[in-house]
Structures are given as structure tokens and as C-alpha cells.
């Protein structure tokens, strides 16, 4: 059989096959949809496993946002000394006690070897001195409220002395610590309030450095 005969005989079928190859076979084969599907299935399988594993994780202790909110209230990200001064004034007034003076004493960080107590990582403490007076019940009520409000306050010193000039009145010098997650370096020197000056809850150092009215 001559080449021409081969062409005549096989030409049309080959042309049809070429058409089929070019139109019917090649585009679907080269579309990449199969590879896309394989990739997507593999990725989906992996993600399903990860999601299943995530669902199997032990349950956390309480809703995260509430716990974070409570923790942030107890140990705020900023010193918030002015807010604390107002709070002290409000609690004292509510308890029937009077605040004579209040001033920051020391600042400690978690890396401070001289700190009163070892602090958790990323925590700083501010020690404040508070001078108050009032009846025993007023002072104890003040201390209770001070320790049971959202911000964490640790009382390190209570020095009660009877007021010699006013029977039934006690003078209390307190040292308390409040905490913050801010990295504190140095605070301004303590400012002593005027003796017997009432603390204005609304007046505090707006810059959070503490102080007396």
C-alpha cells in the first residue's frame, strides 16, 4: 500500500481522532480541574483533622472574654493611679472614713530582686501609703470594700492607732499594693497631701502617677 493510499484510507479517521484529541480530550485533560480537586480534597482532609483535633481540646476554664475582662480589671494594662485614687476616696466616703494622705512609695517589677514579693512575669506593682482615720467599723468597712472591688489590692501593712484627741477614732496608716501589666520604670517622687486634708475622689493625678488632692 502506497503512502498516498495510507493517507486516503487513514486520513479521515486520523483527522477525526485529531479533532477528538484537540477538542474532546486535551482541553479537559489540561484544565487542571482534577489537580485542583485533588489539592482541595487533600487540604480539606487536613483541615477536617485539625478542626476535629481542635474540638477535642480540653475545655477552657470559663468564657475567655469574661476571664480576660476580670483579669484586666484586677491587673490593668495601665497603672490607672488616678482611677485608684478616686476609688479610694469613694470607698472611704462610703465607709465613713477619711483619707488624710495617699502617696506612692515604691514601684517593683517582676525582675526586681528587692521587691516585697516575687511578681508573676510581666507584672509590676505599685506600693502606696494611705493615711486614714475613722471609727473601727468605718476603717474595717473601708478595708473590706477596698479588697473586694474588681481591682486587686493587697494590704501589706495596717497600723492602727487610737486618736488621742478624739475618743473612738482610729488613725490608720496603710500600705497597699496595686498591680499593672505595664512595664514601669520610675514614678515621680511621692507627694504628701496636706495633713487632715480630705481626699477628693474626683481629684487625682490624671496622668496616673498618683498623688494627693
Amino acid at each position: 500500500m502506497t503512502p498516498r493510499a495510507v493517507v486516503e484510507l487513514a486520513g479521515p479517521p486520523l483527522a477525526a481522532l485529531a479533532l477528538w484529541f484537540g477538542v474532546g480530550w486535551l482541553p479537559p485533560a489540561m484544565s487542571g480541574d482534577g489537580e485542583r480537586l485533588v489539592r482541595a480534597e487533600a487540604e480539606r482532609a487536613g483541615l477536617l483533622a485539625e478542626v476535629a483535633a481542635a474540638r477535642e481540646l480540653p475545655a477552657a476554664a470559663g468564657p475567655a472574654e469574661e476571664r480576660l475582662s476580670a483579669a484586666a480589671a484586677a491587673v490593668p494594662a495601665e497603672p490607672q493611679i488616678s482611677e485608684f485614687v478616686r476609688l479610694v476616696g469613694q470607698l472611704a466616703t462610703a465607709s465613713g472614713a477619711a483619707v488624710d494622705q495617699m502617696s506612692p512609695l515604691t514601684v517593683s517589677s517582676d525582675t526586681d530582686a528587692e521587691a516585697t514579693a516575687q511578681l508573676p512575669p510581666g507584672t509590676s506593682s505599685i506600693t502606696l501609703s494611705i493615711g486614714t482615720r475613722g471609727t473601727y467599723e468605718a476603717l474595717m468597712g473601708f478595708l473590706d470594700q477596698l479588697r473586694h472591688q474588681p481591682r486587686l489590692v493587697v494590704v501589706d501593712l495596717i497600723d492602727l492607732t487610737a486618736d488621742e484627741n478624739d475618743a473612738g477614732t482610729l488613725v490608720a496608716n496603710l500600705e497597699v499594693r496595686i498591680f499593672t501589666t505595664a512595664a514601669l520604670v520610675n514614678l515621680p517622687a511621692p507627694v504628701d497631701p496636706a495633713p487632715d486634708a480630705p481626699v477628693d475622689a474626683a481629684a487625682g493625678a490624671p496622668d496616673g502617677t498618683g498623688g494627693a488632692p
Partner: protein
């Protein structure tokens, strides 16, 4: 279908209705017939010399006869062909063709390479043994067939086939019907200027000869050529040229024609085939000449002499016997005879064209057969592609959803971890709170009625700070109290009360003095006590119960 036959002087055509399967025995209807004269020099000795003029004659024939179709079967004049019956060994078809060409080549007046050679095996009296077969070989100058087809196409016709006129005659006029087995049949076509003698075996062509003598005008006397032929044949027939048996002279040339037929058949029977003659069928324009049948019957007393019956003929068609050859060509070419083996008169170029068409047809058929499969396959592939694309899109969308869900989980876990750290920080700080106000309250509550405290200092102990008389590691806290009691007994009760507190230890009465106290100078016991605070005054706050992380 129109059948066309020609000789050197005229061109004839007959249009027949397409017949059924069998040709023999059918009186198929003739639709039209016509004839035109050919000028000299158009056809010579059965071969077309001037193709253009022959084509013009064909066009004239179509105009004159008014044929309704342009499909034509071309009848090749017997004089253009050389026929020989030989015995050949049984060979494959290709080798058989070569052997046939070699065998008949010596009879041709032109190179055998220019011949179109076709061999037909005889089924009757064929194989004499297992190694030899009887074949009839036909040789035609290929140019004659090509020119005939070219002339037809020039005339705007569509040649369907080319048939040898003698073969068409014996097949179409039913000369083989009723032929006795083992005998021979003869068809004698009587024209105006020539007489054809055809020997057949039940329709299979065995021998053909054209005698250049007829019963028409100008053929009354023997031509020089015929004289020479008859002289040659005389040697086989044992007679002398021109001595017609019977001595009939009623029709000019009759004796000559009868003598030519007699000598031709005598030659054939004597030299080539000794089977008896069973039947002689007369056809052609001059087949009705009076005395002809009788003369032949007397010459061949063992054979029946018949005249061919004409099919239904149109009223204005002229003498139907004048068209016997063309009508036979039309019928044979159109219907064929499946029971007869035909000579293959397809020239090489046409054969190549037909082969090309055949191969293209096969290729097209394969393509057509293949096309549905390919289309179906392609459709499936496209459908699968669409389905795959949809599945991919769904899977990718699911992946995006899962990524979002996982990110939400991870965010929630990160927030939980952050909350855990923050809570742990707060709890660690709470552990450092020893509840000093509660210590103060407990100490106050332990105070007897006649005793009161003047001062009380409770503090978290500094590094190394310890109450008086304390041994061991420094306690978490220390206290110092100064009180006034009505008596030492009151001091003792207070100490007893404080000592029972679980968080207080190491009480040390550092001073107790009896004397006046206060503005009223009332005599009392003023005492000072140191001590250590060893434990928390309040339980550590228990963390809130765990709550599950809510899935987003």
C-alpha cells in the same frame, strides 16, 4: 440508464428503465432510443480516433433522442478487443493477471504494457485437473477505454461503466436460456457493415469475432480484408473462400455472411472447443433479412436458429433490432449479471480514482462509525470536567469555610490561653495576700470586755523580719499590739484569745506595766505583744468553674 454502442459509421443509444435483479427473461421497458451517423475518421476499427468529434456526436445523440438521464453505460466495440481462451495453472490473482498478460501479449498489435488485460475463469469445462484452469483473456488497448470515457465526460455525461458489446449481447438477450449443458451458444449480430459472431457458454463469453461484411448497403461483396480472413479460415474449415453453402443469392452478401459465420464457428469448434452448437440467436438491424435463418439452419443442422425478441419499444423508436447492441449494453451495464463473471474494463487512471474514492469512502465510513464514539467520549470528558470543576469549587469553598472555622478555633484557643495566663497572674498575686484586715478583725474580736488596744500594727514581713524570740525561717507576717487592760488577768485572756487563732503564732509579751493611763489617769495594765502571722487569714479564692469553649 442509457446504453451506447458504436461502430465505424454510427452511434446508437437506448434508454431503459432500470431493471430488476435479473436481466434474463425480463422485457424491460425501453424509454427512448436514437442514433446518429459518425463522420469518417471519428472511429476506425472500433477505436475512437477523434475524441472531440465523438463527444460532439454523443451530444447530438442526446439532443436527438431526448434521453432523460446523463448516466451512461459505454459499450466498447468488439473490434477493439482481443479475446483468447487459454488454459493456465491455478495461480493467485496477481500472478494470474501477469500470466494472462504474457499469454495474450503475442496477439496484440501494440505493447502489452498499453493493454488493459482482464481474465475470467470459466466455470463450465474449467478445471481439467487440480493444477490448471480454463480462462478467457480479454485485452483492450487502455487508451481506447480511456478515450471512450473521456469523450463521454466531454459530452457532459456520467459514465457508470464500460462493457464489451459481445459480452453484453450474450448476457442481455437471453441467449443462454435453456441452453443444453455441455453445449455452446452463438449470438450473431448482423449489422449493415459488419457481422459479429459471439460464442458463449450459458452467457459466459468464450469467443468473439467481427466479420467486416454485412447485409447492408455497400457490403454485398466481400472486402479484401474479409477475403483474406476467409482464406485463412479456409485452412481450418476445409473449404475455399467464397464458396457459400446452399448457394443462396436472394440477398446480396447473404452467402458471404453465412460463409463467414460458418468458417468462424468451424474454426472455433475445430481448434478451440469441440462441444456441439446448441443454439444460434440472431440479432441486429439485419437479423430479419429473409433467408438468413434458413441458410444458417441448413449450415448448422444440429443447432436451433432463433431471432432475438425485442423488448417493449416506443412507437417512434424506429427498427428496434438496430439497437440490440445498445439496448444490451444498457441492460447489462445497469443490472449486471451476478451469475456471470465480467471482464474488468476499468482503465488504470479510473481504477486509481475508484481506489481513491473507495479508500476515502472506507475512511469516511470508519470516521462516521468512530464519530459517535468520539463525540460521546468527548461529551463525557467535558461533562466530567464540568463535574470536577464543580466538585473542586465545592471542595475549595469547604476549605475556605474550614480555614475560617479553624482560625476561629485558634483565635478562641489563643484567647483562652491569654485568659489562662491573665487568670494565673491574678491568682498568683492573690496567693501573696495574707488577709491582714481579717487578722486585725480576729484580734479585735478576741479582745475581752475590759481590754482594748491602743495600737495595732499588722504587716507583711520584710525580708528577714521576725518577731522577738522567733526562731526559724521568717514568717510571712508580723504584728505588734499595744493594749490596755484592767488587770493582768485581762491581758492573759486577750493573749489566750489571740493565741487560739490558727494564723497567729509566736506571741511574745514584750512589756506589761501597771500604772495610770489616759487623761483620767486610771490605773491599768498597759502591755505590748509581738507575734508572727503564719498563715492566710482567708482561704484563697477558688477559680470559677470551667466552661467549655463555645464552638463558633
Amino acid at each position: 440508464m442509457v446504453g451506447v454502442a458504436y461502430d465505424d459509421w454510427s452511434l446508437r443509444g437506448v434508454e431503459r428503465r432500470r431493471p430488476g435483479r435479473s436481466v434474463a427473461g425480463r422485457r424491460d421497458e425501453v424509454l427512448a432510443a436514437g442514433a446518429v451517423e459518425l463522420d469518417g475518421g471519428v472511429v476506425e476499427h472500433g477505436e475512437i480516433v477523434d475524441v472531440e468529434r465523438f463527444a460532439a456526436a454523443l451530444r447530438s445523440l442526446w439532443q436527438q433522442a431526448g434521453f432523460a438521464t446523463r448516466r451512461v453505460v459505454l459499450g466498447l466495440d468488439a473490434r477493439a478487443a482481443v479475446i483468447r481462451r487459454v488454459e493456465l495453472p491455478a495461480l493467485p490473482p496477481a500472478e494470474m493477471a501477469q500470466a494472462a498478460a504474457y499469454d495474450i501479449g503475442e496477439l496484440l498489435s501494440y505493447p502489452v504494457e498499453e493493454a488493459l488485460v482482464s481474465a475470467v475463469e470459466l466455470d463450465a469445462g474449467g478445471r481439467t485437473d487440480g493444477s490448471a484452469i480454463q480462462v478467457v483473456i480479454l485485452a483492450v488497448r487502455q487508451g481506447a477505454v480511456v478515450d471512450l470515457g473521456r469523450a463521454a465526460r466531454l459530452a457532459g455525461l456520467h459514465p457508470a461503466a464500460t462493457e464489451l458489446v459481445p459480452a453484453a449481447l450474450v448476457a442481455a438477450i437471453g441467449a443462454d436460456r435453456g441452453l443444453a449443458p455441455g453445449s455452446l451458444g452463438v449470438v450473431v449480430e448482423l449489422g449493415a457493415g459488419s457481422t459479429g459472431v459471439v460464442v458463449h457458454d450459458r452467457g459466459g463469453l468464450l469467443f468473439s469475432r467481427v466479420i467486416t461484411a454485412g447485409l447492408g448497403t455497400g457490403a454485398a461483396s466481400l472486402s479484401d480484408e474479409l477475403e483474406m480472413e476467409l482464406a485463412l479460415l479456409a485452412g481450418y474449415a476445409g473449404g475455399s473462400a467464397g464458396s457459400a453453402p446452399g448457394g443462396s443469392t436472394r440477398v446480396p452478401g447473404l452467402a458471404t455472411v453465412v460463409e463467414g459465420v460458418r468458417r468462424t464457428l468451424h474454426y472455433y469448434i475445430t481448434e478451440l472447443d469441440d462441444r456441439p452448437l446448441d443454439r444460434i440467436v440472431l440479432c441486429g438491424a439485419q437479423s430479419g433479412v429473409g433467408g438468413l435463418a434458413l441458410e444458417l439452419a441448413e449450415t448448422f443442422p444440429d443447432a436451433a436458429v432463433l431471432r432475438h425478441e425485442q423488448p417493449a419499444w416506443p412507437a417512434a423508436g424506429g427498427d428496434p433490432h438496430a439497437y440490440d447492441d445498445a439496448a444490451s449494453v444498457a441492460l447489462f451495464g445497469a443490472a449486471g449479471r451476478p451469475d456471470l463473471r465480467r471482464f474488468d474494463l476499468v482503465p488504470a487512471p479510473e481504477r486509481a480514482r475508484r481506489s481513491t474514492r473507495s479508500r476515502l469512502a472506507v475512511g469516511a465510513a470508519v470516521t462516521v462509525a468512530l464519530a459517535p464514539l468520539l463525540v460521546a467520549d468527548a461529551s463525557l470528558r467535558w461533562a466530567e470536567r464540568g463535574e470536577t470543576a464543580r466538585e473542586s469549587a465545592v471542595a475549595e469553598a469547604h476549605v475556605v469555610d474550614l480555614q475560617g472555622e479553624l482560625a476561629t478555633f485558634q483565635d478562641a484557643q489563643a484567647r483562652q490561653a491569654e485568659a489562662d495566663r491573665a487568670s494565673a497572674r491574678v491568682e498568683a498575686l492573690r496567693l501573696d495576700d495574707y488577709g491582714l484586715p481579717t487578722v486585725v478583725r480576729r484580734m479585735a474580736e478576741a479582745m475581752p470586755a475590759d481590754t482594748f488596744l491602743v495600737s495595732l500594727r499588722v504587716q507583711r514581713s520584710r525580708t528577714g523580719e521576725a518577731p522577738t524570740g522567733w526562731s526559724g525561717p521568717p514568717p510571712p507576717g508580723v504584728f505588734n499590739a499595744t493594749g490596755v487592760a484592767g488587770s493582768l488577768n485581762g491581758v492573759g485572756r486577750w493573749l489566750d484569745g489571740v493565741q487560739t487563732l490558727p494564723l497567729v503564732s509566736g506571741l511574745w509579751l514584750s512589756q506589761s506595766a501597771h500604772g495610770p493611763y489616759g487623761p483620767s489617769e486610771q490605773v491599768a495594765e498597759v502591755f505590748t505583744v509581738d507575734g508572727a502571722i503564719t498563715d492566710r487569714a482567708e482561704p484563697v479564692a477558688v477559680p470559677p468553674p470551667a466552661a467549655e469553649v463555645q464552638a463558633p
